[in-house]
Subunit: 320 residues, 4 copies
Amino acid sequence: MIPNRHRYAARLNAFKVKGGSVAEMIAAVGRVGGLGAADLNYPDHLADHDTTTLSRLLADQGLILNGLAMRYYTEAGFRLGAFTHPDPAVRRAAIDLTKRGIDACAAMGGSQMTLWMGQDGFDYSFQADYARMWDDTIAAMAEVADHNRAIDIAVEYKPNEPRAHALMPDMATTLLALAEVARPNTGVTLDFAHMLYAGEMPAKAAMLAGRQSRILGLHLNDGYGKRDDGLMAGSVHPVQTVELLVAMQRLGYGGVIYFDTFPDLSGLDPVDEARANIRLTDRLLDVARGLADDPVLAAAQSRQDAAAATVRVMAALYGA
Amino acid sequence: MIPNRHRYAARLNAFKVKGGSVAEMIAAVGRVGGLGAADLNYPDHLADHDTTTLSRLLADQGLILNGLAMRYYTEAGFRLGAFTHPDPAVRRAAIDLTKRGIDACAAMGGSQMTLWMGQDGFDYSFQADYARMWDDTIAAMAEVADHNRAIDIAVEYKPNEPRAHALMPDMATTLLALAEVARPNTGVTLDFAHMLYAGEMPAKAAMLAGRQSRILGLHLNDGYGKRDDGLMAGSVHPVQTVELLVAMQRLGYGGVIYFDTFPDLSGLDPVDEARANIRLTDRLLDVARGLADDPVLAAAQSRQDAAAATVRVMAALYGA
Amino acid sequence: MIPNRHRYAARLNAFKVKGGSVAEMIAAVGRVGGLGAADLNYPDHLADHDTTTLSRLLADQGLILNGLAMRYYTEAGFRLGAFTHPDPAVRRAAIDLTKRGIDACAAMGGSQMTLWMGQDGFDYSFQADYARMWDDTIAAMAEVADHNRAIDIAVEYKPNEPRAHALMPDMATTLLALAEVARPNTGVTLDFAHMLYAGEMPAKAAMLAGRQSRILGLHLNDGYGKRDDGLMAGSVHPVQTVELLVAMQRLGYGGVIYFDTFPDLSGLDPVDEARANIRLTDRLLDVARGLADDPVLAAAQSRQDAAAATVRVMAALYGA
Amino acid sequence: MIPNRHRYAARLNAFKVKGGSVAEMIAAVGRVGGLGAADLNYPDHLADHDTTTLSRLLADQGLILNGLAMRYYTEAGFRLGAFTHPDPAVRRAAIDLTKRGIDACAAMGGSQMTLWMGQDGFDYSFQADYARMWDDTIAAMAEVADHNRAIDIAVEYKPNEPRAHALMPDMATTLLALAEVARPNTGVTLDFAHMLYAGEMPAKAAMLAGRQSRILGLHLNDGYGKRDDGLMAGSVHPVQTVELLVAMQRLGYGGVIYFDTFPDLSGLDPVDEARANIRLTDRLLDVARGLADDPVLAAAQSRQDAAAATVRVMAALYGA
């Protein structure tokens, strides 16, 4: 059973205003109402405050720390890769930075570090030695997982951007890597828009994750399946969103739902946009709860009868 | 104002069963209940019955003839093109076949011929002389439009398939062509899934069509934006479907809504599937009617406030 | 080292002419000159001739049998799936048909059965029970692999078509499945156009295959990355083709190169088109051989220097 | 006839280094050798130097001014649009800024202003009033074209980014708009990677442009057809690049070839990368010159014989 209520989190940087500090961003998150958790990016969100101060700032807004997320910034030398950087010294710096991030996470009482290895990819045919990159990634992931067995390492895959091709572009590739890493404190974070533009059916990818690894996070958002549009959850693909939420319920996921959206690109006030995300997701979760154990739907699925299944789902979702 | 009720039509070939005749397909359409119109493909659907018989078969099922749709079959020699075939004799045969189709349409009391110029395209760089193909298409369209000024010629564009690239892949290219054709009895037919995989926002494409030409038909269906999946209307993209229906209402479209879907690919009974299309579309039309003159939505749009607009639309559509 | 010369094979059905028999298709393949192997589809290509006759027909044209490839035709009841069909009796029929195909392969002295599980997929959210489909596929693959340990089972993945989503859409998903199947006589067949429209970089996918499983076949062709265009090898993406050929050489692949192209869609004479495939591939293989051990290229790759690598490759490929 | 030698230009911002000035960027462009022209972005590249100084800096490096290109930056208030901004005051500011840019262009002896209206788009269904946006764009383009009839206004279309959908996403839509604008000093700028991810065949789009408007610029680069990858010209799609160059030659284009690439994303030294662009393009232009009047190719095209055409082209391009 899905808990009565998931905690929601929003992307902290969506609340960044010119010259704004992390403290101001956290305060803005608090103003939304309805958000119960936050993720901090490492190292940037921890640059100006110590972990004690940050923990207090979160608590002041009634927010728990969902976890930390690594950022390997171009300006920090990671343009050509973090765990796969061809220069061993830069690669080592990426691993060490990650370990410090894990330490900071533990210091704040967090339980999870999310890795988005966005720089670990390639742009051109013949640019990269794929086998070497794969080996280097597996070894680095094992090393950071071993750094602190009490902290879960969640891989958030994405097809591309900033690199034209990511080494870890989709669910199945990520699961192959995690099988080689073979550490119990590893898993995946699902990002709905990433799944769409990886060409995946989100609920099917969730099935694979639940079967082969652990699902450590869920990012909701939406888009048109070509890039990481960062639109509000349920605004384009409500049906696939509900199907994913049903799958997550069946898999027993009770963690945070994080809205990984880009209100700035659409000129939206981040507080308004976060409230819309909450409102839409509340409703889609309700629909998902109603469908998760529906015998008519289960019967239709058991014979792959898409007409009966679709009518049932659309009746629940939009009253058809 | 949208009429209280559009007539619905379904793809006749979806009702084809092994060895089944056109008469049997029409009877199956009648069994659906709720379908009020039919399109016939020329020449194949007129091969076995004369126009009088066909008109009677339609009337027996309470169906009006929405129009005819040309098919330039590979087996008939049109693999390399119809209006653009490099062999002038084959090109002439395509034009003459179209004229006979227009005559048959008129004989049945129809008012519209739909052209899907699926063979008029190219597969390889350097295969085709694009300028020659363009000229040949414009000239052929003008000629068939002039053949009978009382019959409207509707172009149904599609990005590709069977050719890797169609000469007429999207709305704007079609409108450029129609501007050159410059005949009042021409226009476009909108196909939702084609629009999606042409990368279009359907309601925006409808705006362009309404501004530059005439909208002569509307095909509803759905898909994942990569190919012509032929799924049930509203099953994947209900939000964009409603937006298109609002745009059609504002443009005064009162014509037939044709379900251009492929139940056979999903193993569905065509009668069940057609009933699901009707049920889903009835509901989405209701939502569209409620939104078309909504002042809160209009105010949100006037300032491009996507949070307010989305909350309003999702409240109407799925109760968020 | 790549052998001096791969055997080439062409898609037998590309040589189908109206009313033509399998014997006539094989004779047409022989007329190409330069083709040294053939695949037969089971059951259709074995419907009219016994295996002895077929073996002789191939030998008469100097062709070895590369293997058999299963076809689970819609008309045979497999529209909703073969190994995943919701009806256990139909699923059993698919497995038994595959075993008979394996027997026929063995009877002809072949060593490989290719499985393209094109019907094993889904079209709609909520249509399918993904976990059940996955289990059924793993079990069926294990069963057919065990049927005859001397025959290799090669999975040819494809993102979609005829179903909107395939259960086995890409390399990494296929490798996850094969890891569960855990039979030594299994592996993958790479199809260049499928890889492109799965969003893969072909040489990277080959690396994964070589690392985790066995590469049992290579299909060359080309396209635009959105669907299975079936164009001639090297006609759109010669650079990625060369990169894949270099990867195959490094992996020690010495098997057949099969041209999985659709000359019919482009109105091409299949003999002319097959000769073009051979000519283009001969040249791209030469380029690949020159690059496989190139120290300048290796040095550029070792530092991910795409400018140096690209200049080197384009000098070899097109004289830049 | 193509002139013996196009002038090449490179993206100035590709040469930006931390804290670097426009003067330093221009000096770096000069170091490439082989670049003969430059575009400046307005207003940013003109912020620190007056036009006289900039003209001298260009001349010192042997560079002519190809033109100016407008940038409507988010920070300047244009996040929700420039010519389509819902706030009339912001829209007016965008138009006035453009006029000042045109004045600066004229002051520097330039002849062309490029408009990339990247902010003029939308992200969500129901966010925007498409008809109002269209009207506002047409009116603004007419106004800026009328501001100085001696300066050409070139529209550079792009499917999306930063907005999820651009109002002017592809060639045909741009040509529809330019037909409404109806000013002789307007035209289009072709960008190869934008064309690819708009789903266009570049040479076909060039045909439409040549027929309906004026081609004012050519941006070469490459990518994978899903986003604006910014890769080196000819590195992924050399065949379509050559086909475009042949089309440009036939259309009599003798203007600048601008390399709109992002070496920074691939960790490349911009001087090395620019030299690679020049080297590859020199070669592809040679191939294009050889094919432009080739009678064998023309004969193959006249019968749409893709096998003969492809063999001819690949013999010229890569020696097949």
